[in-house]
């Protein structure tokens, strides 16, 4: 028997898509029955009250959560988000309902042993409700009380070898695509690098010393499955600088519409019939740089003019492979719209090697130069992208010691208002007006 009537939420139980309402109700029932005899450390009816307060929001069209005070674990400035409800008398089970962010593994691979240990802990000390995963990438444990937080942290670190993720003005939990673990497009091992960076920068992740949040995201190729280019202050996007590898026999299989060579790896196998595959129209014609030719059953690519957009490779993965000389591009400054409008990442490093053998030296150097500048010059709550806007891209090049190159721009500036630095101008700015007047009358 449900504790609260939920007529509005009940209408979200029908329909084919997995219903979070059904899941919450089943969970409430499991907690009420408690067949495993768990000694719940927070109220057993917390999920009933979560349903109840959500129903109330559906009725009012308004949230019933308050932002909440400082909660956290000793010595860390992030990883826990305080949350209280504004109707504690009616819904005491969610009076305190804090979130813990648990740092997800690279590629989000799990063993069931690990997941079961985590669910056991969360049933015992929390609501048993999670997000798999939050938008940053963490495992989100949704709903516990203040006294449980240190206890959960203790179990995570002592028994599970598992740390919290970031929140607040620090490095947020870095996230990656699955990369080389299962994707042939991946130009570097995203899993290894995200693991390295997360460990290398634990201090920055746990102890706020930044003007605002900072995100790393790692995509193995320009397809950008984790949206790094739009969602991270610094994105690492795999790329290559030699030639796309071509298997001519396989190209011809695609041309012949061989069933084992479906266009775009089968992405169009569905209820719509697009007709037979047409290499000329679907690959050559859509190549943004028109750098491909198909003559005498031979595909040739003018690689010097290819911008590595991935289209042809996506369409014919059995015939075309990324190059062998791989690395990544680094883009900086992406952020959501607050405040000056959204910013996409801007290309800072066109190509850098990804070398685990020297601890990604070339990459950490860029990271640390950027951080030094941002920590020195950034105003409170100023994202890196905003600082770049305020002080200029040229300043960014200066602090990172990177030489300007045409790859940095879509097109050169359209105004001539160049702010020269004094030392760039021959003879400097100090001049003698009297000397001038000798030749120019007043």
């Amino acid at each position: 028997m449900a504790k609260h009537e939920t007529p509005l939420l009940d209408q979200l139980e029908s329909g084919p898509w997995p219903s979070f309402v059904s899941d919450l109700k089943a969970q409430a029932e499991r907690r009420a029955k408690n067949e495993e005899g768990i000694e719940f450390q927070i109220p057993s009816d917390t999920v009933d009250d979560l349903l109840g307060i959500l129903e109330l929001s559906f009725k009012h069209g308004r949230t019933h959560w308050k932002h909440g005070g400082i909660v956290g674990v000793f010595g860390y400035g992030g990883g826990v988000i305080g949350r209280y409800c504004d109707q504690p008398q009616a819904f005491p089970g969610v009076e305190h309902f804090h979130t813990m962010r648990v740092n997800q593994p690279a590629g989000k691979y799990y063993t069931t042993d690990y997941l079961r240990t985590l669910t056991k802990l969360w049933d015992f000390r929390g609501s048993g409700i999670t997000n798999m995963h939050g938008a940053t990438g963490d495992i989100i444990l949704l709903g516990t009380t203040t006294p449980q937080i240190e206890e959960i942290f203790h179990t995570l670190t002592h028994d599970m070898g598992q740390d919290l993720g970031g929140s607040g003005s620090n490095l947020r939990t870095p996230a990656d695509c699955l990369g080389q673990s299962r994707c042939e497009y991946s130009c570097y091992d995203t899993n290894a690098m995200v693991y390295f960076l997360t460990n290398e920068y634990q201090d920055e992740l746990h102890r706020p010393a930044f003007p605002y949040k900072f995100k790393f995201k790692l995509d193995g190729c320009p397809n950008c499955c984790v949206a790094s280019i739009a969602r991270s202050d610094m994105s690492f996007i795999g790329t290559w600088r030699d030639d796309i590898r071509v298997d001519q026999d396989a190209v011809n299989k695609y041309v012949e519409n061989d069933a084992a060579y479906p266009a775009n790896a089968g992405a169009f196998r569905g209820s719509k019939d697009w007709g037979p595959f047409d290499l000329e129209k679907e690959v050559l014609g859509l190549c943004p740089t028109k750098c491909m030719k198909f003559e005498n059953q031979k595909l040739s690519i003018d690689n010097a003019n290819c911008t590595r957009c991935m289209h042809c490779i996506n369409v014919m993965p059995r015939a075309l492979k990324i190059g062998k000389e791989t690395g990544c591009s680094i883009l900086v400054g992406a952020k959501a719209p607050i405040l000056d409008g959204a910013q996409m990442g801007s290309l800072l490093v066109p190509f850098v090697e990804v070398n685990p053998d020297n601890d990604y030296e070339a990459i950490t150097e860029v990271i640390e130069n950027v951080w030094d500048w941002w920590m020195e010059e950034g105003k409170n709550r100023e994202r890196l992208g905003e600082l770049i806007m305020r002080q200029g891209f040229q300043k960014l090049l200066e602090v990172t010691g990177i030489k300007a190159q045409p790859q940095h721009v879509q097109y050169p500036r359209t105004n001539p208002y160049i702010f020269w630095k004094e030392d760039e101008v021959e003879g400097g700015w100090e001049r003698d007006v009297e000397e001038y007047r000798k030749h120019h009358q007043r």
């Binding site: 509005l8 979200l12 329909g15 084919p16 898509w17 997995p18 059904s22 899941d23 919450l24 089943a26 969970q27 000694e39 959500l54 929001s57 308004r62 949230t63 932002h67 000793f74 949350r83 989000k108 691979y109 069931t112 669910t119 969360w122 409700i129 999670t130 798999m132 995963h133 939050g134 938008a135 709903g143 006294p147 670190t157 598992q162 080389q180 299962r182 091992d189 899993n191 693991y195 460990n199 634990q202 746990h206 397809n223 984790v226 949206a227 280019i229 739009a230 790896a265 992405a267 169009f268 196998r269 569905g270 209820s271 859509l286 943004p288 991935m310 059995r318 607050i338 996409m344 409170n380």
Partner: protein, 382 residues
């Protein structure tokens, strides 16, 4: 409910403390077939919606069955995922960036039993627990934020709008009939925790009323300078206020016409709530993408300025989304993303074929970049 301690002693927090250990090592979590072939994959193929095979140079194969799900998930549900992974996948499972779940097996014979098992599992209310799909030229799971379930500034619910939208889009979750993949994202206030601003279709919660001011309590519960500095548009200033009983209190004043309803002040100061039944609702955006394929990544554009919150299923919202998906499906060329299609036909035609009304709210007036979006040309379509 007696308190059970782990041994942690609040008086000596540093005793035996372990910190800065980071995440678990992914190498311990890879399925064996992944571990063996990492970095040596030759190619992949989507066999049918939701089912992929990746073939390694060694000839080994891994079959993946991708299923959708709510990212809001109970431990009971996770345990069920574990049961399935134990039964079919030797105890391994992974999650995708877009909140899907992937079950991997190392041979073709294991695929059918896995699929049948997944497809047969339903919640008591009748919905699928593990619908197979989310690949290729279709619509995959919606990434979203917290909404009324857990956040203090949402202008709409996240899980509810997502469930309503995915029920409508479900056929396209399990099909590949669209010209290209179509990514839908959801964020419940303009902070866009989920960064929805580069999605083919974005659902965004939006407030339309500046905060209310609880003058009597404001100075008692808030640090006024923090509230003032929280405002991105400098709309808040300290001010003395006279209460009804005649006492003068320190509080703040808000210049309403400068407010962009972001809720940052409420984050800093609980005496400045802004949620409102009529004021809050939904903005729809369209035409963004993050992939570099063919065209550059681009931002989504606002195509519906406001829709009211209609609990529990947001019918006006799902109707507008359907109109866009159908017009796109009928009009776009193969491989053409929604934004590329809209640019090719022209946004004036986009509104026509999607049967969406263009209003003055859709013309940018926010800061300098607004100018970039006005038409500086005599080329347009009637």
């Amino acid at each position: 409910m007696a308190f059970i301690s782990t041994g942690y002693n609040p008086a000596k927090p540093m005793e035996n403390r372990i910190t800065d250990i980071g995440p678990k090592d992914h190498n311990d979590f890879y399925p064996p077939v992944i571990k063996r072939n990492k970095g040596k994959w030759s190619h992949h193929e989507i066999l049918e919606p939701g089912v992929l095979v990746h073939v390694a140079d060694s000839g080994e194969e891994v079959y993946t069955v991708r299923v959708g799900g709510a990212r809001l998930m109970s431990t009971g549900h996770i345990n069920e995922i574990c049961d399935i992974a134990d039964k079919h996948c030797d105890g391994h499972v992974r999650f995708t960036t877009r909140n899907n779940i992937e079950f991997m097996v190392d041979s073709k014979e294991k695929v059918e039993p896995l699929k049948n098992d997944l497809a047969a599992r339903k919640f008591d209310g009748g919905s699928f627990k593990f619908p197979i799909g989310g690949t290729g030229a279709g619509i995959t799971n919606i990434v979203h934020t917290q909404g009324w379930l857990h956040c203090h500034t949402p202008a709409t619910d996240a899980s509810g709008t997502v469930k309503a939208a995915m029920d409508e889009l479900f056929a396209d979750f399990q099909d590949h009939r669209l010209p290209a993949q179509l990514r839908v994202s959801m964020a419940c206030c303009l902070n866009m925790c989920g960064a929805v601003h580069c999605s083919d279709i974005a659902i965004l919660g939006y407030h339309r009323k500046p905060p209310m001011l609880d003058h009597e309590y404001l100075d008692k519960v808030c640090e006024i300078p923090l509230a003032v500095s929280a405002c991105p548009t400098a709309a808040i200033k300290p001010s003395k206020q006279l209460l009804a009983n005649g006492t003068e209190v320190k509080s703040v004043a808000v210049k309403n016409e400068r407010c962009m309803y972001c809720g940052n002040c409420y984050t800093m100061c609980p005496s400045m709530p802004l949620a409102d039944t009529e004021g809050d609702g939904i903005v729809l955006m369209a035409g963004g993408k993050v992939s570099n394929r063919i065209s550059d990544p681009k931002f989504s554009k606002v195509v519906v300025g406001f829709l009211p919150n209609e609990m529990p299923r947001w019918p006006s919202m799902t109707k507008a989304i359907n109109q866009m998906v159908n017009a796109y499906s009928n009009g776009a060329n193969k491989y053409e993303r929604l934004g590329d299609w809209a640019e090719r036909i022209g946004w004036e035609k986009f509104f026509e074929v999607c049967e969406l009304e263009f209003t003055h709210h859709l013309i940018d007036d926010f800061r300098q970049q607004a100018y970039m979006s006005w038409r500086q040309s005599t080329q347009f379509k009637f």
